[in-house]
């Protein structure tokens, strides 16, 4: 059984079928690419899996557990983190605080009540320890992304590429088992894309399974173990990069049919 899979997942917006009965699967420890032309339903599929949206029909299973109608924050706590296509950082907070938010639900010390609000009130000594844990772990992830020198900058003041990096750092701080990256290379120059490729491999080496939506074919073909192709909400192909490159349906979807 796959690490994560969807069982004929369907999402309709009014009359529009954005995702049509898609069986999408992700193997543990792999990098899975999700590609397709604009409007193919890739981000919708992401949103339905990570709980930001609920599917019209079908189910999502993670580690054998049905997570279809779970709230988004519960899915994150189960170990699925994500980044967003249009970067969603906490813009008015510093780089460091952004990563600390990622540690939010991890910080619960065994001696504390589960309710962080009551803890804040009581100001127990454990809170200090807990905060120290959060500091150290956040710093660890900042360093992993090479952002530690920008710790006190406001997130909105970072250059575009660094904002993407910070979003990944923040997602990693939740210590996910499965990481969804939504177009991480969008707007990056070739040099930055190369760096990103190395970074994704580094993340894979930590034992984190990765799913990425990407339009940069060089990146996708280079690092993905498996690729799923969507077109008009339907899954049209699935396989390793070689198979996908030679699949006539995929070529047709991207380049059009020859007359």
């Amino acid at each position: 059984m796959s690490f994560l899979y969807t069982d004929s997942l369907r999402k309709e917006f009014g009359g529009v079928i954005a995702v049509s009965d898609v069986d999408f699967k992700v193997e543990k420890g792999s990098i899975t690419g999700l590609i397709g032309p604009n409007g193919a339903g890739k981000t919708t599929l992401f949103n339905n899996i990570t709980g930001l949206d609920t599917p019209t029909e079908g189910c999502v299973f993670f580690k054998g557990m049905d997570i279809t109608n779970l709230a988004s924050y519960k899915i994150t706590r189960l170990g699925i983190a994500r980044t967003f296509q249009n970067i969603r950082l906490f813009k008015e907070m510093t780089v460091f605080e952004n990563v600390m938010i990622g540690r939010h639900f991890k910080g619960t010390h065994p001696h504390l009540t589960k309710n962080s609000f009551i803890n804040a009130f009581l100001g127990l000594i454990y809170v200090k320890k807990e905060e120290k844990d959060i500091y150290e772990n956040s710093l660890k992830w900042l360093k992993f992304l090479g952002l530690e020198n920008l710790h006190s900058e406001l997130a909105k003041n970072l250059p575009y590429g660094k904002q993407r990096g910070l979003e990944i750092a923040r997602a990693l701080a939740t210590e996910p088992e499965l990481l969804f990256l939504d177009e991480p290379a969008a707007g990056m120059n070739p040099f930055e894309t190369d760096e990103l490729m190395k970074l994704i491999k580094k993340i894979k080496n930590l034992g984190i399974t990765i799913v990425l939506i990407e339009h940069d074919m060089k990146l996708v073909m280079n690092i993905c173990d498996n690729i799923t192709v969507l077109n008009y909400g339907k899954k049209i192909a699935e396989g390793n990069p070689k198979e996908i490159q030679n699949n006539p349906l995929v070529i047709e979807a991207y380049l059009g049919k020859s007359e």
Partner: protein, 305 residues
């Protein structure tokens, strides 16, 4: 004169508690609430009813006032906190009006437009406060301002407070970070309502009477003005804003011009202050307070080298 200044200081204290608690809701969590006067009123009426009708002592009445206010906060929060921005503002405005109308029309409980009079002065550890001795109330009220200031400050420096700021910044991203946003918003709302209830309780025992028209929509707006004027998301700034608004309102009387300048001038003055602020300094006088982790990080980087 000295009595008038003490009166002013007491009012600044009571309003400070209101603006501090609204700052948690509107400034930090980013929920535009226009029913703070309602929570204030619920607190004031609860204390009035308990101390005159049930003959309860001040401390229990105050605690119950806070709790009832915060229960109302949860009650209004559960259905409305799914709304955003303008919609939430309208919904809370509606709730504020419901509460005021209840105060006017529920005669058997609130004595309607007449209000409740002769609320006994509080008895603190066997020491009975005398209403004419204003300095006693100054101490009582400002003690609460300080305590509440520190509690709220403590909240904002915690994990909980950080989550609230995150919700303010980007709710969807906060959800994706594993934060139960609805729960946090409701808790934030009910803490704010709790302290507004405490302020109401203090108001009731100081004023010794409560009547429905004190707790109208204009008061909610005025508290919001104090928060905006001082600086959203900064507790100290909010107190500065409160001092300015309350003092500006009493300026004609303070300078002895009250028979020359009509009281309506105040509202022109408020309006002018707000318009000028929004144009030249939209972040408020002191602006948002940022937590600085720079030192902590520098230290831990140094340690490793």
């Amino acid at each position: 004169m000295i009595n008038f200044i003490l009166l002013l200081v007491i009012y600044i204290g009571i309003y400070s508690i209101l603006s501090l608690s609204l700052n948690l809701i509107a400034g930090y969590t980013g929920l535009l609430s226009l029913c703070h006067a309602a929570f204030f009123g619920i607190g004031a009426y609860t204390t009035a009813i308990l101390m005159t009708g049930a003959k309860l002592d001040f401390w229990s009445a105050m605690l119950i006032s806070g709790v009832i206010s915060s229960l109302f906060g949860i009650l209004i929060g559960l259905p409305t906190l799914r709304l955003k921005g303008d919609y939430l503002a309208i919904a809370t405005l509606g709730f504020g009006e419901i509460v005021r109308n209840l105060m006017i029309n529920w005669d058997s409980l609130t004595r309607g437009p007449m209000g409740i009079n002769n609320i006994p002065s509080p008895n603190i550890l066997g020491f009975k406060l005398i209403p004419s001795q204003k300095w006693q109330y100054v101490i009582l009220v400002w003690l609460f301002v300080i305590i509440i200031f520190f509690i709220l400050n403590r909240i904002m420096h915690s994990r909980f407070g950080r989550a609230l700021s995150a919700i303010n910044d980007d709710e969807i991203a906060a959800l994706a970070m594993g934060i139960n946003t609805t729960k946090y918003k409701i808790i934030s709302f009910s803490i704010g309502a709790f302290f507004a209830g405490i302020a109401g309780s203090l108001f009731a025992v100081f004023n010794q009477s409560v009547s429905p028209n004190t707790f109208d929509f204009m008061l909610s707006i005025m508290i919001l003005c104090m928060v905006v004027l001082g600086g959203m998301g900064n507790y100290l700034a909010v107190i500065v804003g409160t001092v300015i608004i309350v003092t500006a309102g009493e300026l004609p009387r303070l300078l002895g011009f009250s028979n020359v300048i009509p009281p309506q001038t105040n509202q022109i003055l408020f309006g002018l202050i707000l318009v000028l602020m929004m144009i030249y300094r939209p972040q408020g006088i002191l602006g948002r307070k940022r937590l600085d982790f720079g030192k902590i990080i520098q230290n831990s980087i140094k340690k490793e080298v």
